[in-house]
């Protein structure tokens, strides 16, 4: 039995689909952010798997995943700052309540 490329792509597909499900159904902003992280993570895993199996001699997938992790960290920090600000203004973090701007 060989571990070929498909074996690694199937968990990644399931991770991505779970992220889509959570993104559509959840109503809390932080829960939506968690689903987003799942989708990002599965995309990162795909980069690395394609790098290893299709181009074993190079490391471009790894470099791209490193940049992706850095940008995901920045994006999460900003999103959490915004969520805390919304909580201060409205009192909860439910997306149904956030339907007006400042004025």
């Amino acid at each position: 039995m060989d571990l070929s490329i498909l074996w690694y792509l199937v968990p990644s597909v399931i991770m991505f689909v779970c992220g889509v499900y959570g993104f559509v159904t959840r109503k809390n902003l932080i829960a939506i952010l968690i689903s987003l992280e799942l989708m990002l993570n599965s995309a990162d895993l795909n980069f690395v798997v394609f790098n290893r199996f299709l181009f074993p001699g190079s490391m471009e997938g790894m470099v791209f995943t490193l940049f992706s992790i850095a940008i995901a960290a920045a994006e999460t920090a900003i999103a959490i700052a915004i969520i805390i600000n919304i909580y201060r203004a409205i009192g909860n973090t439910d997306v149904r309540e956030i339907n007006k701007l400042k004025h």
């Binding site: 498909l6 499900y21 992280e37």
Partner: protein
């Protein structure tokens, strides 16, 4: 031919990834959901280690499992009362989400198993044919300007992180 230990490790990690990512999006308590996400991130890091990218696995654990999860737990504790459960899902939203998930799974798996591009190499063959990535390679790849070297994106990311720090402070400060 892959070793038995590799195959067993693969199955443990793959099943853990699937189960925990399902639990992370269906759990009613947000703090549990964040903990399941942490387990998914650690499983992904073990996948990176198994594929031979040790530096990437270490970065994944340090940045994702260490840094981002602390931010998540911090913000959950700041914006939720203890033992607060989320409201149950509306039925049409749950239907829509299930439809999206099932359609996505079918389309992606169909595309995956029909793709002619994929070769049938096993993990051991790929690991044997590749030269191991040393820290020296990673350092020259990030600080050079030749082909396959990435100094400009590296600097751009550092400016982005600075902007992100300033933006986070400005957005979240008290008025």
């Amino acid at each position: 031919m892959d070793s038995v230990a590799n195959i067993i490790l693969y199955f443990v990690i793959a099943i853990a990834t699937v189960v925990f990512s399902f639990l992370a999006v269906t759990s009613r308590k947000l703090l549990r959901s964040a903990t399941y996400l942490l387990f998914v991130l650690i499983c992904t890091a073990i996948f990176y280690f198994q594929l031979g990218f040790q530096f990437l696995g270490a970065v994944q654990i340090a940045v994702y499992a260490g840094g981002i999860m602390v931010l998540f737990v911090f913000s959950i504790v700041l914006t939720h009362k203890p033992d607060q459960k989320n409201a149950p899902l509306e039925s049409h939203r749950r239907f829509l989400g299930t439809m999206c998930a099932v359609a996505g799974t079918v389309v992606l798996l169909f595309a995956l198993f029909k793709m002619p591009l994929l070769n049938g190499l096993s993990l051991t063959e790929c690991l044997n044919s590749a030269t191991p990535i040393t820290m020296h390679d990673i350092g020259t790849a990030f600080t050079g300007t030749n082909r396959f070297q990435y100094l400009l994106p590296f600097e751009a990311v550092s400016v982005l992180l600075l902007a992100c720090i300033i933006g986070g402070v400005v957005v979240a400060r008290k008025r």
